[in-house]
């Protein structure tokens, strides 16, 4: 008789480390002290010495390792399968990136080590800057911002600094109604009023509406191109002219740059300032909430205002230049998320120019392949040619009481990560699908088959879809209570309410 193991582990619900804790348990044992003891309070100052952290969990090493390994198996990852989260560009993170980032001299470089010992790391940053400038057609770039929204804020602060220097920072930022929510947030934090521009019937920028809105009060227009419907703003050069005529600037949100790399350059179609998302377009990990990378590229006119320090060539060496009187200052400690910069450069060099261009073509091809396969089953509200992503609506399915969120949850049962639901806001009940160039035909077909099968289930058994997912550890969580009354900190049961719900 043989006993077959049917689960990776028996724990269906993982206790918190706090709940597993047992007083005195240790993950390590140190040898006895063989040097004279030093009083930490005398050495560091009493105010810097913490005696004990109350309630700190005490577990063994294997308990800690198993806890986090088990939790990691509850997750979905790009290494398991397709992750078609529209607008997020969840592409595969090639292992060569990791290999290069683990190179000893790069992985262990310290930001305080002298310039003379940092030349290699500085060369990496210089080469990445040069590559990004070639890709975007811009004149200068800062690698400091930690992610996309941070890049946006940096970019708009550059616009403000430049306009202030000209005598008037102006009052408004124009933002199309299809924009990412971070755009208005950026404008507001940079001290600007936000004015929404309605999209045309076709889902693109409405030139007539824009012409009316662009006044001497407008500092910039923030536009995503291709926009969040995956449609290229074909009038973008004209938009740039309209803005420039009134002394305003064109900001491009580079979230969808994966559709442009190697094909067209924002610097050539009139963009003044833009950010890139290294964790989207250039295959650095999204995992664990970051760290990301949000370089900001600018035209010459904004270059004096870029964050310090700037890389500078001094003879045969790289040095950091802090003497830049017009700079907006630092936006991040040290030089940005350096490990991410290394990965992005590895990706760019591993592909080469032709390879990057092919990646773009494949990303667009994949999105259009899915569009063709799914168009008979799902409503396509804006039927313009799409680029790297495609946005359907749940119009047909909602007649059976099934909404985009239900279809997304059912997709989990088929082994796929859901697409983006309910965004962009101009599409009612959006299914926003971005396969990226990562997926081959087999995976794309399986994904399309899953959605077609769900569309059939909507007709035959809508409740099956409305109560999905059925294959996961937890199914429908109470999103409403979680948002209305969030419990963000665990407390021991004895001293108050526990984070059970």
């Amino acid at each position: 008789m043989s006993i077959q193991k049917v689960r990776a582990h028996i724990s269906q619900n993982e206790a918190l480390l706090f709940e597993r804790s047992s007083p005195g348990k240790r993950g390590y044992q140190l040898p006895g002290l063989d040097v004279p003891p030093v009083d930490p309070a005398a050495a560091l100052g009493a105010e810097n010495v913490r005696v004990e952290i109350e309630g700190f969990p005490e577990v063994s090493e294997v308990e800690a390792i198993r806890h986090f390994t088990r939790l990691s198996t509850w997750n979905y990852a790009i290494d398991y399968g397709m992750y078609p989260l529209g607008s997020c560009t969840m592409k595969y993170n090639p292992r060569v990136n990791e290999l290069v980032a683990r190179t000893e001299g790069l992985a262990w470089a310290h930001p305080y080590q002298p310039e003379a010992l940092s030349q290699g790391a500085m060369e990496v940053m210089a080469r990445l800057e040069a590559a990004l400038l070639e890709i975007t057609g811009m004149d200068a770039v800062t690698l400091q911002p930690a992610a996309g929204a941070h890049g946006e804020l940096t970019g708009i602060l550059l616009v403000r600094a430049c306009l202030e220097k000209r005598g008037n920072p102006r009052k408004k930022i124009l933002i199309p109604d299809s924009a990412h929510g971070t755009n208005p947030a950026t404008a507001a934090i940079a001290g600007y009023a936000v004015e929404n521009i309605r999209s045309s019937e076709r889902g693109t920028l409405d030139l007539a509406a824009l012409e009316q809105a662009v006044t001497e009060e407008v500092a910039a227009l923030m536009v995503t191109n291709p926009n969040t419907l995956g449609v290229f703003e074909e009038n973008i050069a004209r938009v740039s002219e309209l803005l420039h005529r009134k002394g305003a600037m064109l900001y491009m949100d580079g979230a969808n740059m994966n559709a442009l790399v190697g094909i067209t350059r924002p610097g050539d179609f009139g963009v003044d300032v833009m950010h890139l998302n290294l964790h989207k377009t250039f295959s650095t990990p999204h995992g664990g909430g970051g760290p990301g990378g949000g370089p900001v590229a600018v035209k010459k006119v904004l270059e004096p205002f870029l964050p310090v320090p700037r890389l500078k060539r001094a003879g045969k060496k790289w040095t950091w230049n802090y003497k830049r009187p017009d700079s907006i200052g630092r936006v991040r400690a040290f030089y940005g998320n350096f490990g991410v910069l290394v990965r992005a450069l590895a990706y760019i060099l591993a592909h080469g120019g032709e390879g990057l261009r092919n990646a773009t073509l494949d990303a667009v091809l994949n999105a259009n392949y899915l569009r063709k396969k799914l168009e008979p089953y799902f409503d396509l509200p804006y039927p313009l040619p799409n680029m790297h992503e495609v946005v359907f609506s749940d119009d047909r399915q909602s007649r059976r009481g099934v909404r985009t969120g239900d279809i997304a949850k059912r997709l989990i049962d088929y082994g796929f990560h859901p697409y983006t639901v309910s965004f962009p806001l101009i599409v009612h009940g959006a299914l926003m699908i971005e396969p990226t160039e990562t997926e081959g035909k087999l995976e794309l077909d399986q994904f399309a088959d899953a959605l077609v099968s769900i569309a059939a289930e909507v007709e035959s058994d809508p409740d099956l879809v409305k109560s999905a997912p059925h294959s996961t550890r937890t199914s429908r969580v109470d999103e409403v209570t979680a948002a209305r009354r969030p419990v963000v900190r665990w407390k021991p049961a004895s001293t108050g309410s526990q984070a059970a719900g």
């Binding site: 309910s422 999103e479 409403v480 948002a483």
Partner: protein, 127 residues
């Protein structure tokens, strides 16, 4: 469903004007579209609001949406009950869950707004 004595905006707000005071809320159609509302952000008493400009926002599990003021005026009362119980906006958007009351500064603006019948045909047409 949509009271005859209210006036409506294409952005799905309503206003009831009585003796120079406008009571403002969001429509039943708006709350249906937003889904479960989890947070309401409202202006302070004394704040000036302009017709067509944002006066605050409502957050649902799906998205944060601006609330555009149907009229210009000064805020004289805010419905604080909503901060404790935002779900009221889903239950009674045309009654208990009004958002703010404003003293109108340009009563003529009302003529820019939709009647109940016009609003209903508008949301019938909107997809």
């Amino acid at each position: 469903m949509y009271p005859e004595n209210f006036r409506y905006t294409k952005e799905h707000e309503w206003v009831l004007v009585e003796a120079g005071i406008g009571t403002i809320g969001i429509t039943d159609h708006a709350q249906q579209e937003l889904g479960d509302i989890v947070y309401v952000d409202l202006p302070k008493v004394g704040a000036a609001v302009d017709q067509g400009k944002s006066l605050g926002s409502v957050e649902s599990v799906k998205a944060v949406s601006d609330v555009y003021s149907p009229v210009s005026g000064e805020v004289i009362e805010v419905n604080h009950a909503l901060s404790e119980a935002p779900e009221k906006l889903n239950q009674d958007p045309h009654g208990d869950a009004w958002l703010v009351k404003v003293r109108l500064t340009a009563p003529g603006e009302i003529s820019n707004l939709l009647s109940a019948a016009e609003y209903q045909s508008y949301i019938g047409a909107e997809k």
